[in-house]
């Protein structure tokens, strides 16, 4: 239903962009919403979009192609991609167990999935560092087989695993819950093996949710700061994430340079999310065909 399709109630005060309604309070609610959004979101974002160009096009390019900037962007996006990818099967497994099996303490365990949402990132950061440091309980285990976890890109990856898991679990869970059991049962009656049922019935149904979960986890991981900087070690060119580089540039009063990195992050995330949406559309079309 479009606004034009509905005749205005009284003819007075016609607003072409809004449908008439008997409910009051639109000007107040809308006015407050727009003012607040304008001041808190739009104005600051305008600064982020405009300020990099103080450097001129060549200056922006020079900043973007700094070795240190490139390395940090590569690390942030690469580690976020790998962590989100790892979280897809792990999240599916957790969601499956929580929706398909009944066991004592299930609801408590279910509640714990959200802990990374509720635990402040700095707390997670120092706790993960304590665990994966060379003398920590898991870090020492890894050290025995010659893998250094904390203070390397692997540490960044571990922190992003922690941050991203609930996104995948919580997007897949409702889909698994609503999945029509009869279709699965029909497949079983018709002689499908368990693997076939999973691959041909369950997986296509949860695939869109898995992809949304992946993109949510990825988007969060790209910009993550608090849980990463303690465990990363922050060595330039090696384990320095892009958000940290923004902080460093600000500390050197290089506002425009910091804005360049921030804007680049925003653009790359945006492009990645567009690509994910494209994959999802493709899957949806193929499913309908």
């Amino acid at each position: 239903m479009t606004a034009a399709a509905v005749a205005p109630l009284a003819g007075k005060r016609r607003t072409p962009w809004k449908q008439a309604s008997i409910l009051p309070g639109f000007p107040l609610a809308m006015g407050w919403t727009l003012t607040y959004l304008g001041l808190v979101v739009v104005l600051p974002l305008t600064a982020l979009i405009v300020r990099p160009w103080e450097l001129g096009l060549s200056g922006v390019w020079a900043t973007l192609t700094e070795e240190r900037v490139l390395a940090s962007l590569r690390l942030s996006f690469g580690a976020a991609f790998l962590a989100a990818l790892t979280n897809v099967p792990m999240g599916l497994l957790v969601a499956w167990t929580l929706t398909r099996y009944e066991f004592p303490g299930r609801r408590i365990i279910d509640a714990f999935v959200d802990l990374p949402f509720a635990l402040p990132t700095a707390v997670a950061g120092i706790a993960l560092t304590a665990i994966y440091a060379p003398n920590g309980p898991l870090g020492s285990l890894f050290a025995q087989i010659g893998i250094k976890t904390a203070y390397t890109p692997i540490g960044v990856y571990i922190a992003l695993l922690f941050i991203g898991l609930p996104f995948v679990v919580r997007t897949v869970q409702p889909v698994l819950q609503d999945l029509d059991r009869e279709v699965e049962e029909a497949a079983q009656t018709l002689g499908a093996t368990n693997l076939q049922r999973f691959r041909l019935v369950v997986l296509p149904a949860v695939a869109p949710a898995l992809i949304s979960g992946f993109s949510l986890a990825f988007a969060r991981a790209v910009g993550e700061y608090g849980s990463v900087i303690f465990i990363a070690g922050n060595m330039p060119l090696k384990s320095e994430i892009a958000p940290l580089l923004i902080v460093i540039k600000l500390e050197q009063y290089d506002y425009a340079g910091a804005a360049v990195v921030g804007l680049a992050m925003l653009f790359i995330s945006f492009g990645a999310l567009l690509a994910v949406n494209g994959v999802q559309l493709f899957l949806a079309r193929r499913g309908r065909a």
Partner: protein, 278 residues
């Protein structure tokens, strides 16, 4: 609920794998916070928490949350009223802008305020002339927190109010109730649990926010350090027991949030937006 896939041996295996993933990845870090905090006994745990710096960090965290959370709660209600009760052009664009802060890096959410109000920000010189301090001051912390936590309440209310529809409000108005009475007696009772849910999550994030506030705070010890920043300051000074002691307070905040959130999902699932129902 009976397990539909009957695979002998696989169910226990899946359960074991789930417990391993959640245990190692999620529960272990929580345990480590308390283990490290109490590593040198109870007295050593309490001592750093009674330092003036720690107390002022707790006070500042509470102040910042006490300003930002109500602002975003009022915004959330206003935005939900506009979006869920009226049809207008550009609605999806508006909702995109409301969601936008969720997809921004916390550091960028801090950076944008420095670009506006920092020493070399757009309004920096004017602020300096008039002796107003925003960056490296409480108001900067509030602005950064407000931006980061802006979507929480609106995100809970909009889908719920869209589900509920406007019938009850329309009935109240037809029966002669005024706009304010209708909101107070009809709308608010219908959305109160979802509002509480949103405020709860908003508050947890506001008190625990680190990246955005660290950019605007300048970490002046005892002046502009919130509790999460205080954790960082102590940690970087190798005062590990103190850092984990402060972190344990934040971990408790997270646990309390989780408990209330879970209770709301169990008891009032019908009155939360569909995605929150268990």
């Amino acid at each position: 609920m009976t397990p539909i896939i009957r695979l002998p041996g696989l169910a226990p295996l899946m359960l074991a794998a789930t417990l391993a993933i959640l245990g190692v990845l999620i529960v272990l870090p929580l345990g480590v916070v308390f283990q490290q905090a109490f590593a040198k006994g109870f007295a050593a745990y309490l001592e750093p928490l009674t330092q003036p710096d720690a107390l002022s960090a707790i006070r500042l965290t509470l102040t910042v949350a006490a300003i930002s959370v109500p602002l975003n709660a009022v915004f959330g209600v206003a935005a939900a009223w506009a979006v869920a009760r009226f049809e207008f052009k550009g609605k999806s664009l508006l909702v995109t802008f409301i969601d936008l802060p969720f997809s921004m890096s916390p550091v960028v959410s801090g950076l944008v305020w420095v670009l506006l109000f920092g020493a070399q920000g757009w309004f920096g010189p004017w602020l300096q002339e008039h002796d107003v301090k925003i960056i490296f001051a409480t108001s900067g912390l509030v602005l950064a927190t407000v931006l980061v936590t802006l979507p929480f309440v609106a995100r809970e209310l909009i889908p719920l109010m869209q589900d509920q529809g406007a019938d009850e409000e329309a009935a109240a108005l037809t029966l002669g109730a005024g706009g304010f009475t209708t909101f107070w007696r009809v709308t608010l009772p219908n959305i109160k649990w979802a509002l509480l849910y949103g405020v709860l999550l908003c508050n947890a994030r506001a008190m625990g926010e680190f990246g955005a506030v660290s950019v605007v705070s300048g970490s002046v010890r005892g002046l502009t350090t919130t509790l999460p920043l205080h954790v960082e300051v102590l940690y970087n000074d190798y005062e590990f027991v103190g850092a984990f002691a402060a972190a344990s307070i934040l971990a408790c905040l997270g646990l309390v949030t989780l408990v209330i959130k879970t209770l709301l999902e169990w008891r009032h699932s019908g009155e939360l937006s569909a995605g929150r129902r268990h």
